[in-house]
């Protein structure tokens, strides 16, 4: 069975993938469908959804088009999710790989370092980091990455520890391959599936984290993100439910889709390659 066929067997995963593709499409199409800045005050404030053509999701506290905000926000949320996850992987994977492969004192040092980061509560650390660097897309991405790499390092380390004594790795060592080659060519490719699965969940978590930061007023004020929209709408949740509802649903769907896809990947990637018998 091909990878995709296996993936598609999981109906949830397929639904997730479709939602995710739609969201990506939204992000790509946003500048085409809503070429104007989503910050433009274009109509009367607090226009309910469907009450006027061109404003299917209504307008916000200042008469900005909610639909435009959602579309443009998709881009930001996905970007923050993907980039912060990539950065976390860039930190966590090499660290975990080195710790897991070499073991011993190197492992000890790297893991103490990792534990150290895990000892400071995540969300608190993220808040402090954003506050220190001052809110901007870059600082948010960095803060999210900094608090989310330790689990990556741990996962990769565990995988490396279990794989480094696999016979094929020993065989590679025996034929004289260098440690770097072994790490990159022999072990890393075999840890990819759990990493991919974890990464898909991390993207979801990052989106939630960004929205929580935005909610506390630590978002980037120059980009329209879903978290910003909810944060801004929270004060008017009583008179204009739709302002927090739509971005909330957007976050929910994205996170949901990423989870479903993650589970699907898990199902599709895991059993096959690890062991055939």
């Amino acid at each position: 069975m091909s990878f995709f066929a296996r993936f598609a067997q999981n109906r949830g995963a397929l639904v997730g993938l479709i939602i995710l593709l739609l969201i990506i499409a939204m992000a790509i199409l946003a500048p085409l469908l809503f070429p104007e800045s989503p910050w433009r005050m274009v109509q009367r404030p607090f226009l309910p959804p469907l009450s006027q053509d061109g404003f299917p999701l209504g307008t916000d506290t200042m008469g900005r088009n909610v639909a435009a905000g959602i579309m443009h926000g998709a881009w930001v949320s996905l970007l923050i999710g993907l980039v912060s996850t990539s950065v976390a992987l860039l930190i966590g994977v090499p660290l975990g790989a080195i710790a897991g492969y070499y073991g011993g004192i190197i492992d000890d040092i790297l893991m103490r370092f990792t534990e150290f980061f895990q000892t400071i509560p995540n969300f608190a650390l993220a808040i402090v980091l954003v506050a220190i660097m001052q809110p901007s897309v870059t600082s948010i991405v960095l803060a999210i990455a900094i608090v989310s790499w330790p689990p990556v390092a741990r996962l990769v380390r565990a995988e490396f520890m279990s794989l480094r004594n696999r016979e094929y790795v020993e065989a590679a060592r025996l034929v004289g391959q260098s440690n770097t080659t072994i790490i990159l060519r022999q072990i890393l490719p075999n840890t990819l599936s759990p990493i991919i699965v974890l990464a898909s969940l991390m993207v979801a978590t990052a989106i939630l984290l960004e929205s929580a930061l935005s909610f506390l007023g630590l978002g980037d004020p120059n980009v329209m993100s879903w978290g910003y929209m909810i944060g801004a709408a929270r004060t008017v949740i009583r008179q204009a439910w739709w302002l927090s509802f739509f971005p909330g649903v957007a976050i929910l769907l994205t996170v949901l889709a990423l989870n479903l896809v993650g589970e699907g990947l898990d199902d599709a990637l895991n059993p096959k390659l690890s062991r055939e018998r």
Binding site: I120, P121, F123, L125, A131, I132, S211, L216, G248, L252
Partner: protein, 326 residues
Amino acid sequence: MVYARLIIMRLLKAVVVLFLIVIFNFFLIQMAPGDPAAILAGEAGATDQEFLNQLRERFGLDQPLYVQLWRYVSGIAMLDFGYSYRLGVPVFDLIMARLPATLLLTGTAFVLSLVLGIVAGSMAAARVKKPSGSIIMALALLFYATPLFWVALMSVVVFSVYLGWLPAYGLYTVGAGHTGFALALDVAKHLVLPATTLALFFMAIYTRMTRTSMLDAAQQDYVKTARAKGLKPSIIQRRHVLRNALLPIITLAGLQAGQMVGGAILTETVFAWPGIGRLMFEALQQRDYNLLLGIFFFSAALVIVFNIITDLVYSLADPRIKKGAS
């Protein structure tokens, strides 16, 4: 005895980690823009240079950084966390005043999420591939994907405003003068919304984890052995599958118990819960460094304590650890 010695060892290690964390945090916070004195002065609405100098001198902010660090670290060694810049109250007192509320909230949420999560997860595992099982998992996924603060906002609107069933904020009814049981009941009522809100996300995690872990355990050979004995499925599920499935959950729960303090910031803010998370956020905004550092210290200490507790619980649950299997 052996336990006692090992725990002491662990605590000694913890002291080292905490020491490092103090230093790390100290420098981290120094990197933040904004001078605490200027903020205090700003808050006062009026200021002049003399006022700023007074404040700086008072907090030792006029000293070189290493002197400040040395003072702080040596203070902590004597368990003296200094005074809050803004509130002029010993940091230790402030934290101790707020800690119970946070522990009550996070503790309740923790127990709630753990118990409900395990129950839901086992139910889902038993109903795998049945609609009821899928519904449980769909709900768990939904709780997982819903932003916490949004749940908080919505639950206030629904349960407090429209239905009027539960108080929307605070720890107790101010001015009601409840004591004893009435107070406990009052606090319990106030606890419902924030604790549930906080619990939902973690519950979703435990549900999923329990299910996976149980399905995993159900594949194990010893379950086949148990079936070959003619044991009833309910007993097999409980005694053989669930018990083994709980082991990874203990690890996760330990990790999360420590993180809940940080995770409670949003909940405490929305529900006006007088806890330490909110205090931390306020301290950060005010650049009340002493207070912030104190809170960081305590939350890190909590994480470490929970790690030790987790290890203990794990060793109780898994004889292999205690007795030293290889």
